[in-house]
């Protein structure tokens, strides 16, 4: 998903939930920042690098693909962008443990971990809510791909068709991929940028939806393709429907986080709250454009009656470096605490399932263990009860 959904649409969802303008901005800002909080940024801020929620293209190019490097990549991408659906899933055919471990990291919506993600943000900061909304929304957009480099899971081939609704039926148009990262996608000719084919299981070119380009990130597009793990069964990806579900599930989740609901249950969507705006929202989602920020912004401003400022990364920078003892109470400090909690939880669940792809998880309560500055922040934020 792109800033249009992670920032402006999240603001709209927060407004429909009942949050104030300031709270909605804080949630949307944190949601969008998940895509920007890299070790390059954290390094510049002298902040803990283990709180990184994404990796820049350049960082990925430099990232070692040895065991440690791969575990680091998997921790980041599985925790924040490709939340695994079922850590105990069984592939249709008998296969090796190595294959099974990768297969179990495939992202889909409404898994047990998405519920845990939302529960984790309960009673926490607005930044924690924003992170949870990012993770939840991405389970819809990024489904069928895994947050770990894997050729056998994330690869796609030439079989890729865009679907256009015409005269009550569907017209197919072959999608062509090119590999120039700096060239914008050509919607008119269905010409999209994707990562190149590399026949190495561990190549970062095979991370997430890189091989399918930005198609999962566009709300308007419908397409069909053959996922590498799908045993030659065609998958039809209906992004407008998925984005609509993501939007309504965000409202459902935020209502729980705000205390309007007692529990967050998967597969439930708040269609009622969006009913007066349904046609408008569908219109924005289905409009064929690379960036729908302006349309979402207009809707958000109509909902709140206030101007939505453009996303400003300096909000995360200001205050953090200057604060000496009170770093935890700055916007970035709160974001770091929430990000560490999410990464720590997802890594633990993957490890507990017997899968070492995200590395080892050591329970701080059960075993004396050295923790760095970053985790001390997280422990302190919980009143030191983790000790």
């Amino acid at each position: 998903m792109n800033p249009d959904f992670h920032y402006y649409a999240t603001y709209c969802a927060a407004q429909l939930t009942g949050y104030t303008h300031e709270e909605s901005i804080a949630i949307a800002r944190s949601d969008q920042f998940v895509d920007l909080c890299s070790i390059t940024f954290l390094g510049k801020m002298d902040a803990p690098l283990s709180a990184a929620t994404t990796q820049l293209q350049l960082e990925l190019m430099e990232a070692p693909t040895d065991i440690i490097g791969l575990q680091n990549i998997t921790r980041i991408w599985s925790s924040f962008h490709f939340l695994p659906y079922d850590l105990y899933a069984e592939p249709k055919k008998r296969c090796s443990k190595r294959y099974k471990n990768k297969f179990r990291l495939i992202c889909k919506p409404n898994g047990a971990l998405v519920r845990e993600t939302v529960m984790l943000a309960k009673g926490k900061s607005m930044e924690a809510v924003g992170i949870a909304m990012h993770v939840l929304a991405d389970t819809w957009a990024h489904q069928n791909f895994a947050g770990t480099p894997s050729l056998v899971i994330n690869n796609t081939n030439y079989y890729f068709y865009e679907l256009f609704e015409e005269n009550g039926g569907w017209r197919e148009k072959k999608i062509a991929f090119r590999h120039s990262a700096s060239t914008p996608d050509d919607l008119e000719n269905s010409l999209y940028t994707a990562s190149i084919y590399v026949n190495s299981e561990k190549s970062i070119m095979n991370l997430g939806h890189g091989r399918a380009g930005h198609l999962p990130d566009y709300s308007f597009v419908r397409y069909k393709y053959l996922p590498a793990w799908g045993d030659y069964e065609e998958v039809v990806k209906d992004n407008p429907s998925d984005y609509m579900h993501a939007f309504c599930q965000m409202i459902e989740a935020m209502r729980y986080l705000r205390g309007d609901k007692e529990d967050f249950v998967c597969n439930r969507y708040d269609w009622q709250r969006i009913a007066p705006y349904e046609a408008r929202i569908k219109g924005i989602i289905c409009k064929r454009q690379l960036d729908s920020s302006a349309d979402w912004k207009a809707l958000g401003e109509e909902l709140s009656g206030q101007e939505i400022p453009p996303f400003d990364i300096s909000v995360f920078q200001s205050g953090y470096s200057a604060a000496k003892k009170e770093k935890d109470n700055t916007v970035l400090g709160r974001f770091i605490i929430a990000a560490l909690a999410q990464k720590s939880m997802v890594t633990n669940r993957i490890y507990q399932s017997g899968n070492k792809l995200a590395g080892y998880s050591v329970d701080y309560r059960k075993r004396f263990f050295w923790v760095d500055k970053a985790y001390k922040m997280l422990i302190n934020s919980r009143g030191g009860d983790a000790k």
Binding site: T40, L56, L58, M61, E62, D66, I67, I68, Q71, R75, P91, K93, C95, S96, R98, Y99, K102, L151, V152, N155, N157, N199, E201, L226, P227, A228, W229, G230, D231, Y232, L340, A341, K343, S344, M345, T347, N348, Y351, K356, A358, G359, Y360, S361, V362, D363, Y364, R365, F369, V371, Y375, L378, I379, R382, A386
Partner: protein, 179 residues
């Protein structure tokens, strides 16, 4: 990293360092040793591809290509070591190609890193050293006939990889879970 993975990393590092010592102690046999190792590595790579097909890629759409690739690579590995042991020029060209290619890539990455505001100086220096090494080896090897320097350059790159493997085995890798 599990205990076995750490052990494997350290052991492979030590074996690589021993190979470097062997190359330096037996300079007259160096080309045959290098040719043998390169052929062996290619064959092992082919066998690993075959294993990868059997355990992973056979479940993948279009996974048969991995099987074909593995057969071709094994073939090249077996044939290549024979060819290289006949002509030392093959080994020299291989080594020069490696240095020039990695050096060129580092320089390009340095320019890209500079464009994005990242750290670029070290990458540029590494790239220039790689390219410089390739040029120096061409001059020393072909113009002055001092081909043993090619072996020294090869030893240097293996020793570097060995040290990296050993050091990485001691890095902390666990993620702390705080409830």
């Amino acid at each position: 990293m599990s205990f076995f993975q750490r052990f494997k990393s350290i052991l492979s590092g030590i074996l690589m360092l021993l190979f470097v010592v062997l190359l330096l102690l037996l300079p007259d046999k160096a080309y045959y040793l290098v040719a043998g190792v390169l052929g062996l590595l290619l064959t092992i790579y082919g066998l690993r591809l075959l294993w990868y097909y059997l355990t992973m890629a056979r479940h993948m759409v279009g996974g048969k290509t991995i099987l074909y690739q593995s057969v071709i690579v094994i073939d090249f590995g077996l044939l290549g070591s024979t060819l290289m042991s006949v002509s030392s020029a093959m080994v020299i060209f291989y080594l020069l190609g490696i240095y020039a290619f990695t050096g060129g890539i580092s320089v390009l990455r340095a320019f890209e890193a500079k464009k994005y505001g990242g750290a670029w100086k070290l990458k540029l220096i590494t790239g220039i050293i790689g390219l410089g090494l390739a040029v120096a080896l061409v001059v020393l090897g072909f113009a002055f006939g001092l081909t043993q320097y090619l072996v020294y350059g090869f030893c240097l790159s293996i020793a570097y990889s060995a040290v990296v493997r050993i050091v990485s085995a001691f890095r902390p890798t666990a993620m702390v879970y705080i409830q």
